[in-house]
Amino acid sequence: MNVLASIPPPLGSVLILVLGTLVILLLTGRLSNSPTILATIGVLSLLGAALPAMGGDALTRVSVLGVVAAGLVGMLLVPSAELHNSTQRPEVAALILLGSTGAIVLATAGELLSAALGLETLSLSAAVLVALGRGARPLEAAFRYFVLAAISFAALVYGLGLLLLATGSFAWPRPGVVDPTYSYIWTIGVLLIGLGFAYKLAVFPLLWGPLDAYTAGAPGLAGFVMAASKIAAVVALARLAAGAAVPMAPILIGIGLVSIIWGTFGALAQREVRRMLAYSTVANAGLMALALGCGPEGRAAAIFFVVIYVLTILLAFAAMAGRGTGPLPFGEVRGEGLSATRALGLTLALLSLAGIPPTPGFWAKLAILDASWSALGFWPTLVAVIGGVAGVLYYLRPLPDLLALTRAHVSSAPAPAVWFAGAAVVVLGLAPGFAYAVARLAIGG
């Protein structure tokens, strides 16, 4: 028992998730025909993984809970996931558990080598999860996602080497531990590591892979990939920016602003829900990157934002799950026959993403704008404000059709996932102060 008690909380979660994976793998043959039992095992593993983390600090709790929420929604959608080969549900469930493991490790790692391993675990699971979607499009997208992830990961490994050269350890960078003769090597190393993390956030120069993955993967699985990646990346970047504000903060602000502009214009051109969500995620990632560069207040705002954003995006993808991997044009949201629950879920998600009060998306945006104003002043805040309010122009477009839903469609509706994510969004909308207090605590201030 002593040995178990001495395991740090995040590793306890990791252990439980890997055990869950092994159980699923051992029972693969039986489980492939009973998706409900499979999802139950997965959900239990994820809930179990959340328990040990409750003993950790606030940041651990927030990040593990966020990842677990992503995993839960993904797992609840496994029975209805649109797979190329429908006997592959056990593999999918196992990969969701392992991807959650990677995300937890990335967010809570004690040193950078573990973080890199977590990142790679998450990347590889994500690429395979995307690839397993039905049709040729997911495979194509997964390959691109994989190659571009590998480039940024190679950059991260190189940065790890430079950081070791500069500081002699894999510890998270902290101001004041580097020899001035190495300061440039240290700078390059930190930047490369930051870029490796930034790929998961899908910001400007590293946006293509995630864009394709979010557009073409099976909705439930793409939602998981997106949510787990975002929360882990934001937490990791927050730690990096806390310890290495000098090269990271201005870079984060810069790529944040470019991403806001890029994502907004890109999303404005879309006439299809999936790709609109994919592009808009770039704009939102830009907001988060901007906030991450704005000191402790900004980092708290970014964590607050990412928790809300992740739950909202999970709701959106859960609502679209089960209707294929192809595009979903605005005009067809009705014709495709989303059930009433799902239409309501998608509506709520779109309202929150667009930042219509009193949905939580509005509070999250306000927090970031406030942090940006206190740290950066008028002009960057103006860009963020415009990027933020322009969201209504693309997020709300499908709404008149969506709300005009007249007939319910009978399908294997992923109602539990929609209810779960929807309830989370509603609660966050009604109690924004609580979530922000947690984020503030997590960032340590």
Partner: protein, 201 residues
């Protein structure tokens, strides 16, 4: 390390030249051979830097497993995977991007590295102590990563399998794969890859 400057320079030069070979070869087979040469040169550099175990790993894992894996896959490619002629624009953009990255790295690394101490730390025991000491967490985490790799490889391969159902044979025929659907438990991705891909050639 400066007493070994010449071997180091030689190994670096060959590693670079073979790397150029990897990216320029139109025939993947040639690229694989160049990658092998490159990998061996890197192993030599590791050896000179007194990283014996890493050098061994480089030879065993890289040259022995990864490069051979690449070779197998190349053997499965239609027409040996020969590319059509690369358009000039692509070459130019590659040169520009590579040069830009090199310039950026060089700007930061221009201060150069300090000379290493005479007595290198190392040895298998020290590495063992490090892997089971301060680096125990990342070391154990490789287990999860390898699990992903195994499951992923199997899953990607099983993706192509026809589902047990009516259309199984027609789909298999159209996709040019074998019709057997049995999922041998414990089969690694590589084995299954060879099982199904081989006869399709």
């Amino acid at each position: 390390m400066n007493n070994a400057f010449l071997p180091i320079a030689l190994a670096c030069a060959v590693a670079l030249v073979s790397a150029v070979g990897v990216i320029l070869a139109r025939r993947p087979v040639h690229a694989v051979v160049a990658l092998l040469a490159h990998s061996l040169c890197v192993a030599a550099l590791f050896l000179i830097m007194a990283a014996d175990l890493v050098a061994l790993g480089q030879v065993l894992i890289y040259s022995g497993a990864i490069v051979v894996l690449f070779l197998f896959v190349v053997a499965l490619l239609p027409h040996g995977g020969i590319e059509s002629v690369v358009p000039t624009g692509r070459v130019v953009s590659a040169v520009v991007a590579g040069a830009a990255l090199l310039a950026a790295l060089a700007a930061g690394l221009a201060v150069g590295a300090p000379t290493a101490p005479e007595n290198p730390a190392g040895g298998v025991e020290a590495i063992g102590r490090s892997l089971f000491g301060p680096l125990i967490v990342p070391f154990e985490l490789t287990a999860a990563l390898l699990l992903v790799a195994i499951i992923g490889a199997v899953a990607i391969w099983r993706r192509q399998e026809p589902e047990p159902g009516a259309k199984a044979s027609s789909r298999a025929a159209s996709e040019g794969s074998l019709a057997h659907t049995a999922d041998a438990p414990g089969a690694t991705g590589r084995q299954r890859l060879l099982d199904e891909g081989g006869p399709a050639r």
